[in-house]
């Protein structure tokens, strides 16, 4: 909404300086988004609170300022129009739905050629960029802008039969203003209709077939109050958003119906050559409930930690339009304060420190509890003028186990040059396609977004690999060849047995690397990110968390296994449970993402297993005597894991064989077949005096064991 400071100054005294005025408006909760300057002058662009429809007019803004500054509000003059009985009104008007709270109608006729409103009268419209259209339309727009009461003027000569406020029937059509033709209304839409057509969609917009034109000579001025929910539903369903609907959606003031009509009538009579030819008919069942809220002054004072008296409370709340009783206990009809037993009960202690506050009709939508009144008092005092206090705090808290684990794992990742990224919680169907899943795949089914406005939001992700590879593809397009990234995320898995009846949420860590294994430099090119980089990452995480995470080569049951290279993947195991996987992304997945010349590797770990308490590492003093080292080299064909050979060596060796490490690899061809020469470094403890013969004998024995176990597979000692 836009307002003009010069127009606002006609309603209430305000600072002349625009910056001061802006501060004041911000201070009372009417936020100024920006100050705009145009030929029409300075306009303040306001952002209004969602529950305060009454702010959407000059009277409302002035009232809010008055509450803060105490300045008086000056309102435009409104003629008094008597109410008439239905039988005395020339047109039959019927309200047939409780969704219309109040409906007023007043008839006018043109007595002379119309003249435009004077510029000073139109100033509120012009200052906010609204152009003059015709006297009847301008008058209704002015009334709304001044008082916040939407009104509408029908060409009375287009009306046929009775005017009814009713719900639309199935398939019923209306032709809203500014639309190219008729539209079908949802059944049950609140409309104003005569015997032949729909005149207006209640609270939203008028219709073409009853609109005023230059030749209109008789008007029916409508001023009504409609149910906020009804107007909001209609506005959303028809995608028609108007000043009127915005006002009614936030709760209009039922007491303003006749005021709005009178202002329109007054403007047209005074300036535009129109004459009222009826009194105002007011129909509808709404009656002011006279809501009373008991307010305990000491409680309010304690809430705000601000000294308050009953007199001050009355003064401040009255500025906002509330009525405040004297302090109890004499609340009775003689005082004009009749409280229901419920209210009296809520007042608890009817002593001299409790007052009753009567809520004005325009605030019935948002003022219900004492806390709502505390807010009014705080605004009146000024949010920045009430005290500030820090409550007693016993002791701070430490990070949770999950926070600590994530932090420690991140330290490992950062040390290896990985960058944290964030991906969306959803993706489009094409992401699933690029992973090569079909309907039989365990990750084919997704939790689906029912109303996504973008195809990219269709599926809640049930894996992180798709987006990880897409992120690589994007970085490849940006010429980033060195890619190491990770994310803590969660995936969603259909599960009717889950607490929400729809899906489980799985927290996990993923990491993806492509290009150099570490930052290239002038000294070396950084190697290549390959599955062993990810294996090393797992080993470092295991060491950091002191968890016995193991990497088991080969395919294990894991939903993402099919998306990784079949011969370059491994499961990550904790105990007997698979807690993740690692490996090279399958070439078809890479190609589907239009990535060339990259062989990305991927790691995924479930988060909950990482929260397992790590084991304590037993400490042993370093040996006094240097250990004895020996090396064994074996030729291994494809399919035989060096890790299995190492494990066999360690298991078959004497108790004083303390470590078996793989220290070298030489790949070559033998008889046209690929072969690997792998060197195993054996470390023997030297706690006792051992002879070279004993050590050599142990190593010779191990060679025999290996050849016995793996000989048929083609493993043999390398000379």
């Amino acid at each position: 909404m836009k307002i003009s400071p010069s127009v606002l100054s006609q309603y209430i005294d305000i600072p002349e300086d625009h910056r001061e005025l802006r501060e004041l408006l911000d201070d009372v909760g009417i936020e100024v988004k920006r100050i705009e300057e145009s030929e029409a002058g300075i306009a303040f662009n306001l952002e209004l609170l969602a529950n305060r429809g009454d702010h959407a007019c000059y009277e409302g803004v002035a009232r809010e300022i008055s509450g803060r500054t105490g300045a008086s509000v000056r309102l435009p003059s409104v003629p008094h129009i008597p109410l008439c009985a239905p039988a005395d009104f020339p047109v039959e008007v019927l309200v047939e739905s409780a969704l219309c709270l109040h409906y007023s109608a007043t008839l006018m006729e043109r007595v002379s050629d119309g003249v435009p409103f004077p510029k000073e009268v139109l100033a509120p419209l012009l200052a906010t960029g609204v152009h003059a259209i015709s006297a009847p339309v301008d008058a209704t727009n002015l009334s709304n802008l001044e008082f916040g009461q939407p009104t509408h003027a029908f060409d009375a000569d287009t009306l046929v039969g009775a005017v009814r406020v009713r719900l639309s029937s199935a398939g019923e059509q209306a032709w809203p203003l500014f639309q190219e033709g008729k539209i079908t209304l949802p059944e049950g839409t609140l409309v104003i209709a005569d015997d032949e057509k729909i005149l207006a969609i209640a609270g939203v917009i008028g219709c073409e077939e009853s609109k005023t034109t230059a030749s209109t000579t008789r008007l029916l001025v409508e001023s009504a109050t409609f149910d906020p929910i009804s107007v909001r539903k209609t506005s959303r369903a028809l995608n028609l958003h108007t000043d009127s609907s915005a006002r009614f959606e936030r709760g209009a003031n039922p007491a303003l119906a006749t005021v709005g009509a009178a202002r329109v009538v007054g403007l047209l009579e005074q300036y535009a050559g129109w004459r009222r030819v009826s009194d105002t008919l007011l129909v509808g069942e709404w009656a002011d409930p006279g809501r009373l809220i008991p307010l305990e002054i000491p409680v309010a004072a304690s809430f705000l930690e601000y000294p308050l008296t009953a007199e001050e409370v009355a003064t401040r709340l009255t500025r906002y339009g509330f009525r405040v009783s004297p302090p109890g206990p004499r609340w009775d009809a003689d005082d004009g304060w009749i409280a229901s037993p419920e209210v009296l009960d809520r007042s608890r202690d009817r002593n001299r420190t409790t007052v009753l506050v009567r809520v004005p009709p325009g605030r019935l939508w948002d003022v219900e509890f004492p806390d709502d009144l505390y807010e009014e008092l705080a605004k009146s005092i000024g949010y920045n003028n009430t005290p500030s206090d820090l409550p007693q705090v016993d002791m701070g808290k430490l990070p949770s186990r999950e926070e600590q684990v994530r932090d420690r794992v991140e330290d490992v990742l950062l040390g290896m040059g990985f960058y944290e990224v964030f991906t969306n919680g959803f993706y489009g169907r094409e992401t699933r396609e690029r992973l090569g899943f079909d309907e039989r795949h365990p990750l084919w089914e997704h939790v689906e977004v029912q109303n996504a406005i973008d195809r990219g939001y269709s599926l809640l992700k049930n894996n992180a690999l798709g987006q990880a590879v897409e992120a690589l593809a994007a970085n490849t397009r940006w010429r980033q060849e060195e890619v190491r990234m990770y994310e803590w995320t969660r995936t969603f898995h259909l599960d009717e047995g889950a607490p929400n009846g729809v899906c489980r949420e799985r927290k996990l860590l993923w990491a993806l690397a492509s290009g150099p294994a570490h930052s290239p430099s002038w000294r070396d090119k950084g190697g290549s990110a390959d599955p062993w980089l990810m294996r090393g990452l797992v080993e470092e995480i295991a060491a950091e968390l002191r968890l016995p995470l193991a990497v088991v080569p080969g395919r294990r049951p894991h939903p993402l296994s099919s998306a990784l290279h079949p011969n370059r993947q491994a499961a990550v195991v904790l105990g007997d449970k698979v807690v993740g996987l690692l490996g090279e992304v399958h070439p078809t997945v890479v190609a589907a993402n239009r990535i060339k010349r990259a062989r990305p590797v991927y790691l995924e770990l479930d988060l909950p297993p990482l929260l397992t308490e790590g084991r304590a590492l037993p400490f042993a003093d370093p040996p006094e005597l240097h250990p004895i080292n020996r090396s064994l080299a074996f030729t291994l064909p494809q399919g035989v894991y060096a890790g299995d050979v190492a494990a066999l060596l360690k298991g078959a060796g004497p108790s004083w064989l303390t470590e078996v490490a793989i220290t070298d690899l030489f790949e070559h061809q033998e008889d046209g077949q690929p072969r690997r020469a792998v060197t195993f470094a054996l470390t023997y403890a030297n706690d006792e005096v051992r002879t070279s013969d004993e050590v050599n004998s142990a190593s010779d024995y191990l060679v025999k064991v290996v050849e016995q176990r793996f000989g048929e597979a083609g493993v043999r000692q390398r000379a």
């Binding site: 910056r19 911000d26 201070d27 009372v28 909760g29 100024v32 529950n51 305060r52 929910i229 909001r232 539903k233 959606e249 705000l304 509890f369 709502d372 505390y374 807010e375 705080a378 949010y383 005290p387 500030s388 820090l390 409550p391 705090v393 016993d394 002791m395 701070g396 808290k397 430490l398 990070p399 926070e403 990742l413 040390g415 290896m416 040059g417 990985f418 960058y419 944290e420 990224v421 964030f422 919680g425 939790v447 977004v449 029912q450 109303n451 406005i453 973008d454 939001y457 809640l460 994007a474 970085n475 940006w478 890619v483 969603f492 929400n500 729809v502 899906c503 949420e505 930052s519 430099s521």
Partner: protein, 346 residues
């Protein structure tokens, strides 16, 4: 035997010393002039043949010559070694203008950095981080938080609805609702952080997914003054004690009164600039006193307990902290952006 010619020995030594220009030559010279068969050692052995009356003087002269030789050798040795060392070091000149080769660390995302900073501050006040689901029941996202049926936030274009009538949480306040539904003992001091979703078209400033961090403090006797005090503590801890803050009325369905907290604009210092649309202030968080309806929904008596809730838009904070104008870039996994944020522009 005649007396040894010490002067001649010294003269010969000096002549050889002057040409000894390497540690090896010097050691050879030392062996020759201080070893067992050196002229002076032989002279000492021959003292017995020197007449007794001359022997003391001759011995004294030989010893003096020995000392001179050793001193000369030491001095020369140090000089030669220093020269050799200097030459060796000169030969090892290294171009340290070349870039370092230590493994380069990665970096946490600015969102995580900001979230950690917030949580560090909140932990000092006794807050604990609590997690909650992202696929949520409408009750926890709306009804329990006094967002009634007619509230615009429930409109289809704002909320992602998924299978089974569930939704993607549109705010982390759902975690607060879940905590309250468990009726924990007072005081309650929890924080929740994470992804939230809005069904909006994505542009430079609007995202369908972003991050929030919220706090909830419930106890007996929590006042509006406490709300202001806590918020001021948080903001000043995060942004510095010298930044100005102000409170302003706002509306949130689950708090009453509701408060917005503005921070003086870091760009203009409060004078007004394009970054703050001339206001001199930027809004950084929303907060308020827990609404009585929320308390009643979970069986608490609002006359006995009170509390505060506050929410920080960590995505926007991260963008401000990192100086990123296009918030969307924080979610694009663009490593060029991450490099720039952690190491500066390349």
């Amino acid at each position: 035997m005649s007396r040894p010619d010490v002067d001649a020995i010294l003269e010969a030594f000096q002549a050889e010393l002057s040409s000894a220009d390497s540690p090896a030559a010097l050691e050879e010279l030392a062996r020759k002039h201080t070893g067992k068969k050196s002229p002076l050692k032989l002279a000492l052995k021959g003292l017995k043949d020197v007449p007794a009356d001359e022997r003391p003087l001759v011995a004294q002269a030989v010893h003096a010559a020995q000392e001179r030789i050793e001193v000369a050798l030491d001095q020369t040795r140090r000089r030669v070694e220093q020269a050799a060392l200097t030459a060796a070091l000169d030969a090892e000149w290294a171009d340290l203008s070349m870039p370092g080769v230590a493994p380069r660390r990665g970096a946490r995302h600015p969102l995580t950095v900001v979230e950690n900073q917030c949580l560090d501050v909140l932990r000092r006040l006794g807050f604990e981080l609590v997690d909650g689901p992202e696929v949520e029941e409408p009750y926890y996202n709306f009804d329990a938080l006094n967002i009634p049926e007619h509230h615009p936030a429930r409109d289809m274009q704002d909320t992602f609805w998924v299978n089974g009538g569930r939704l993607l949480r549109s705010h982390t306040t759902t975690v607060q609702a879940r905590v309250l539904s468990g009726h924990p003992k007072l005081p309650i001091r929890i924080a929740s952080a994470g992804r939230v979703y809005r069904n909006e078209a994505v542009d430079a400033t609007h995202l369908a997914m972003f991050h929030q961090l919220e706090g909830l403090w419930i106890d007996e006797g929590i006042t509006f003054a406490h709300l202001k005090g806590i918020l001021a503590f948080i903001v000043r801890s995060l942004y510095g004690a010298d930044r100005k803050i102000r409170f302003k009325p706002k509306f949130y369905p689950y708090t009453e009164p509701s408060v917005g907290v503005d921070l003086s604009c870091a760009v203009c210092g409060g004078a007004g600039c394009s970054a703050c649309h001339g206001a001199g202030w930027v809004t950084i968080l929303g907060a308020g006193m827990i609404h009585p309806k929320v308390f009643m929904e979970f069986g608490y008596d609002p006359n006995k307990v009170s509390g505060i809730a506050f929410g920080l838009g960590t995505t926007r904070m991260a963008a401000q902290w990192a100086g990123v104008h296009r918030v969307k870039s924080l979610y694009e996994q663009d490593l060029r952006v991450m490099h720039t944020l952690s190491r500066g522009a390349r």
